[in-house]
C-alpha cells in the first residue's frame, strides 16, 4: 500500500515484534499454569488477542504471510478460549513453534524479501489438525438477574466468560468505583491486582453518573467464590461499593413492606392490608410435646416477580426431567439395561420432588378472587350511579383462590360483563316494579372450586336474553340463513351473543339484554384455558358461568406431532388418546366420524384443518379425544410424544385473528411449539357440521 506512511510501517514492525515477544512470555505462563493444573482464562484470552491483533494489522499493512498464519492461529485460540477446544500439550507445542516462525516471517518482510519460508508451510500443516469443533450452542445470556443494560454491552467473549463463571457456580458482584480521571490507570491496576486473587473481572462499564468532569464512576462485573464480607474486606475502600448481584439469594422482603404491584394492575388494599401470605411452619420442634406444630404459622410477604422467576426455573427443570426420561429410554434401546433403570429411578424421584416443588410454588402464587371482586364492587357502585339504577351486589366465595396471573387477566372480562348486566340487563326501576320485581336489581358474583377448576359466575335478575330478537338479528346481519335459524337449539340461540358483529352499543338494550363484545370476552377467557357458558330465561334473568383452570403458569400438556409440526394440547382438555388405524371412519353429513364406545366422535384432521398438508408416513396414527363440557372431537395425529409440563406464552396481537391456538411454548433448544386451543378447535369442527345433524347434536351447547 503506497499511501501508508513510512512511519506507520515502522510502527507496524515494531509492534508486531513486541506482540510476538509478549505471546512468547504468555505461552510460557500458560505452560506453567497447565502443568500445575490451574488455568487462567485471561492468559488464553491474551494469547488470542495478540494473534487477533496481529492478523488485523497484517491485513492493513499488507503483510500477507503474517496475516495467513495469524488467521489460522486465531481460529485455534478462539476455539480454546470459548471452550470448544482443549488446551492440550499438542496445541501448546504448535503455539510455541509459531513464535519462531513469526520471527522468521517478520525478518523477511522487513527486508522486503519475497522468498518462501518452508517453516511456514510445515506449521500450517500442523495447524490443520485442529479443526473447528462444534461447540456448545451459544445461547444468549438470559435468565440472569443482571441489569439488562449491562448485558447488552458485553462483547461475545465477555458474555462467554460470564456464562462460564455462572455455570461453575461462582457468585456475581458489582463493584461500583469512583476514579479520578487523572490517576485512573494506576488506581485500576491496583484494584485489578487485588481483585485477581479473589476472582475474575469480566468487564468495566462506565455508569454515566459523574460528580465532576474530572471523575468517572465505573461498574466492575466480577465473578468470585468468596462471600461478600470477604470481598469487602479485601477490596473495600472509600470510593468502592460492592453489591452482590442477587441470583442465588432467596431473600424475602421485610414484613412491613407492601406487596409490589405487577403489570400495572392496581391491587386493592383494604384496611386489613391483605398480603400474599405463605404459611411457614417453624423448623424447630416444640419443647412441649402436646403443642401441635401446625397451630403455629407465620406469614411472609413475597414479591410476585420472584415467584415468576421461580416458576420459570421450575419449567426448565421440567424440561430437564423429561430429558432424563428420554435418556433412560435411549440407554435401554442401546442395551444398557442397568444404566437405564438407574436413570429411570432418578427420573422418577426427580419427578416427584419437582412436582412437590411446583405445587409448593403454585400455592404461593394463588390469590383470593376477592382481590378482583373488591375492585368490581367499586366499579358497580360507580356504574349504577351513572346509569341511575339501584343495584344490589352480592358476593360469595371471595376467598376462593386462583393463580395470580389468571386473576389479572380476568378483571377486564368480568368488568365488561358486569357493565353489560347493569347497562342492558337490569331494567329501570319502574319496569321492574311493573312485573313484580323488587325495584333494586341484584347482581351476584359467585366463585367456588370444582375439582381442578374454579367457577366464577355473574348472575342478574334482569330482563334476560330475548332469543327471538337475537335470531332475527343474526339473520339480518347475514350470519344465519332462515333455514339454519329454524334448526337452532335453545342453547345455540342464546350462544349467538358470542358471535362478532351481533350487536351495536345502541341496539344492545332492546335486543339481547347483553351488549357488545361478548366475542372478545369469550376469546379472552379461552386464552386463559377457560370456557364460558350462558344460561338465561327471558324476563327472569341471566347467568354467565366461567370455568377456569386453577393455574395458568405451568400446564401439563400432551405433545403430539402432525407432519413436521409439534403441538401441545393441555391435558385438562384431553380425555384420552387411542391408537388409530383409519378403519371405522364413516362420513356423516359430509364429516368424518368414528365410533368410540358406542358413541360417535367427530374427527378433526389437523393437517387439513390447518392446511399443513403432508404425506402420512405412518399407517399407525393416534386420535386424541379433546373434550370440553359435553362436547368432544377426536384429533388425528401422527405421533404421541407424551406428557410434558409447559409454560404457555400468549401469541401476540398480530396473530390474534389466527384461530385454534392458545399460545406457544418453548420446546427446548430455542424451538417453539404451538399450543392448541381445544375449545376453539371443537368449535370449529362442530360448527362446520350442518346444524341439526347427528354430528352437531354430539356437540350441543350446555343448557
Amino acid at each position: 500500500m503506497t499511501d501508508i506512511s513510512d512511519k506507520a510501517r515502522e510502527e507496524f514492525f515494531s509492534e508486531a515484534q513486541e506482540i510476538v515477544e509478549n505471546l512468547s512470555r504468555n505461552l510460557l505462563a500458560l505452560d506453567a499454569a497447565e502443568q500445575s493444573g490451574t488455568s487462567d482464562p485471561s492468559l488464553i484470552n491474551e494469547a488470542f488477542r495478540a494473534v487477533h491483533t496481529l492478523k488485523g494489522l497484517a491485513g492493513l499493512f499488507g503483510a500477507t504471510k503474517v496475516g495467513a498464519l495469524s488467521h489460522r492461529l486465531e481460529d485455534v485460540l478462539d476455539d480454546v478460549r470459548l471452550g470448544r477446544q482443549q488446551l492440550t500439550a499438542e496445541v501448546l507445542d504448535v503455539l510455541f513453534a509459531s513464535v519462531d516462525v513469526y520471527g522468521q516471517i517478520l525478518a523477511g518482510e522487513k527486508e522486503g524479501s519475497d522468498d518462501p519460508i518452508p517453516a511456514v508451510g510445515d506449521l500450517m500443516g500442523r495447524l490443520e489438525q485442529f479443526g473447528v469443533q462444534a461447540g456448545p450452542a451459544s445461547s444468549p445470556a438470559d435468565e440472569y438477574d443482571l441489569d439488562p443494560g449491562m448485558l447488552a454491552v458485553l462483547t461475545e467473549y465477555e458474555e462467554h466468560r460470564l456464562r462460564t463463571n455462572i455455570e461453575q457456580g461462582l457468585r456475581l458482584y458489582r463493584l461500583r468505583v469512583q476514579f479520578d480521571l487523572a490517576t485512573i490507570d494506576k488506581a485500576l491496576e491496583e484494584i485489578k491486582d487485588r481483585a485477581k486473587r479473589h476472582g475474575e473481572i469480566i468487564t468495566y462499564l462506565p455508569t454515566g453518573e459523574t460528580t465532576s468532569a474530572e471523575t468517572i464512576e465505573l461498574d466492575l462485573l466480577m465473578a468470585s467464590n468468596d462471600d461478600l464480607a470477604t470481598l469487602i474486606g479485601a477490596l473495600g475502600g472509600d470510593n468502592l461499593v460492592i453489591d452482590e448481584i442477587p441470583r442465588q439469594r432467596a431473600s424475602l422482603g421485610p414484613a412491613t413492606a407492601p406487596p409490589s404491584a405487577t403489570r400495572g394492575t392496581e391491587v386493592p388494599r383494604p384496611a386489613s392490608d391483605r398480603a400474599l401470605s405463605v404459611a411457614v411452619p417453624p423448623a424447630v420442634p416444640s419443647e412441649q410435646p402436646d403443642v401441635s406444630l401446625k397451630a403455629v404459622t407465620q406469614t411472609v410477604r413475597v414479591d410476585i416477580r420472584r415467584l415468576d422467576h421461580l416458576m420459570n426455573i421450575v419449567g426448565e427443570l421440567a424440561i430437564i426431567r423429561n430429558a432424563l426420561a428420554r435418556l433412560s429410554e435411549r440407554l435401554r434401546g442401546e442395551g444398557q439395561r442397568q444404566l437405564s433403570s438407574e436413570v429411570h429411578r432418578l427420573h422418577r424421584s426427580f419427578d416427584r420432588r419437582l412436582t412437590d416443588m411446583q405445587n409448593g410454588i403454585l400455592e404461593v402464587r394463588m390469590v383470593p378472587l376477592g382481590q378482583v371482586f373488591d375492585r368490581l364492587a367499586r366499579v358497580v357502585r360507580q356504574i349504577s350511579r351513572d346509569a341511575d339504577k339501584n343495584i344490589r351486589l352480592v358476593i360469595t366465595g371471595a376467598e376462593t383462590e386462583i393463580d395470580k396471573l389468571i386473576v389479572e387477566e380476568l378483571s377486564d372480562p368480568l368488568m365488561h360483563m358486569i357493565r353489560n348486566a347493569i347497562d342492558h340487563g337490569i331494567e329501570p326501576a319502574e319496569q321492574r316494579e311493573e312485573v313484580g320485581k323488587p325495584a333494586a336489581g341484584t347482581i351476584a358474583l359467585n366463585a367456588f372450586q370444582k375439582g381442578n377448576h374454579v367457577m366464577v359466575e355473574i348472575e342478574d335478575d334482569g330482563r334476560g336474553i330475548d332469543e327471538e330478537r337475537l335470531v332475527e338479528r343474526a339473520q339480518t346481519v347475514g350470519l344465519l340463513s332462515s333455514d339454519e335459524a329454524r334448526e337452532l337449539s335453545r342453547g345455540e340461540r342464546i350462544g349467538l351473543i358470542f358471535l362478532p358483529g351481533m350487536t351495536t352499543k345502541s341496539e344492545a338494550s332492546d335486543l339481547s339484554g347483553r351488549g357488545v363484545g361478548m366475542d372478545v370476552v369469550r376469546t379472552n377467557i379461552s386464552k386463559l384455558g377457560g370456557v364460558i357458558d350462558v344460561h338465561s330465561e327471558f324476563g327472569i334473568g341471566t347467568k354467565m358461568a366461567i370455568t377456569l383452570p386453577i393455574t395458568l403458569a405451568i400446564v401439563s400438556s400432551l405433545l403430539v406431532r402432525v407432519g413436521e409440526y409439534t403441538f401441545a394440547i393441555p391435558v385438562s382438555s384431553v380425555s384420552e388418546a387411542i391408537v388409530f388405524d383409519g378403519t371405522g371412519v364413516r362420513l356423516v353429513d359430509g364429516r368424518e366420524v368414528m365410533t368410540l364406545r358406542g358413541a360417535s366422535l367427530p374427527l378433526c384432521r389437523l393437517d387439513r384443518l390447518l392446511n399443513i398438508g403432508h404425506e402420512t408416513t405412518s399407517r399407525r396414527q393416534f386420535v386424541v379425544v379433546a373434550a370440553l363440557g359435553s362436547r368432544r372431537i377426536g384429533i388425528v395425529v401422527d405421533h404421541l410424544f407424551g406428557q410434558q409440563d409447559i409454560i404457555i406464552k400468549p401469541l401476540g396481537k398480530s396473530l390474534e385473528n389466527v384461530r385454534g391456538f392458545a399460545g406457544a411454548t418453548e420446546l427446548g433448544d430455542q424451538r417453539v411449539g404451538l399450543v392448541l386451543d381445544a375449545g376453539a378447535l371443537i368449535d370449529e369442527v362442530l360448527a362446520a357440521a350442518t346444524p341439526g345433524s347427528d354430528v352437531d347434536r354430539e356437540g350441543a351447547w350446555l343448557i
Binding site: 501508508i4 506512511s5 515494531s14 454491552v153
Partner: protein, 135 residues
C-alpha cells in the same frame, strides 16, 4: 478544524488510522487526530473536546467498544458525536449490538485507507447527530 478521537489499543492500528486521516484528501481537509489507547483514555480525553467524530475498536480489554458507545450516547455532553466502529467480521453479533447501541457505522477489518477516509468524510459532513432515547 474537525477533531477526531481514535480509540484503539494497538499502536500500529492507531498509526494506520492517523496516517489515513492525515493524508491528502480534498474531501476530508485538515483533521486534528487525537489518539486514545484504551477506553479509559477515551473517557479522560472526551471532556477535553469538542470532538467531531469518534473512531473506536470494539474488542478492547477493560472498557470495550460497546461500553464506550453506550457511555457516549448516554452522556449529556457527548451524545451527539458520530461514532464509527472498527470491527472484525467474525463477530457480527457484536457489530449488530454496536449499531443498536447507537454507533453510526462500522468498518470491517481489513479496510483500505480510502474506505476509512470516505467513512470519516461522510460522518463529518453529516454533522452532529440527534438521538432519541431508545426503548
Amino acid at each position: 478544524m474537525p477533531r477526531v478521537l481514535v480509540v484503539e489499543d494497538s499502536v500500529s492500528m492507531r498509526a494506520f488510522v492517523r496516517s489515513a486521516l492525515e493524508g491528502d484528501d480534498p474531501d476530508l481537509g485538515e483533521i486534528d487526530v487525537v489518539e486514545a489507547s484504551s477506553g479509559f483514555d477515551a473517557l479522560r480525553l472526551l471532556p477535553r473536546g469538542p470532538y467531531h467524530l469518534v473512531i473506536t475498536d470494539i474488542n478492547m480489554p477493560d472498557i470495550n467498544g460497546l461500553e464506550l458507545v453506550q457511555f457516549i450516547r448516554q452522556s449529556e455532553r457527548h451524545r451527539s458525536i458520530p461514532i464509527v466502529l472498527i470491527s472484525t467480521r467474525s463477530s457480527e453479533r457484536d457489530r449488530d449490538r454496536g449499531l443498536t447501541l447507537g454507533a453510526n457505522a462500522y468498518l470491517a477489518k481489513p479496510f483500505t485507507p480510502e474506505m476509512l477516509r470516505e467513512e470519516a468524510a461522510r460522518q463529518l459532513a453529516a454533522g452532529p447527530q440527534r438521538t432519541e432515547p431508545h426503548d
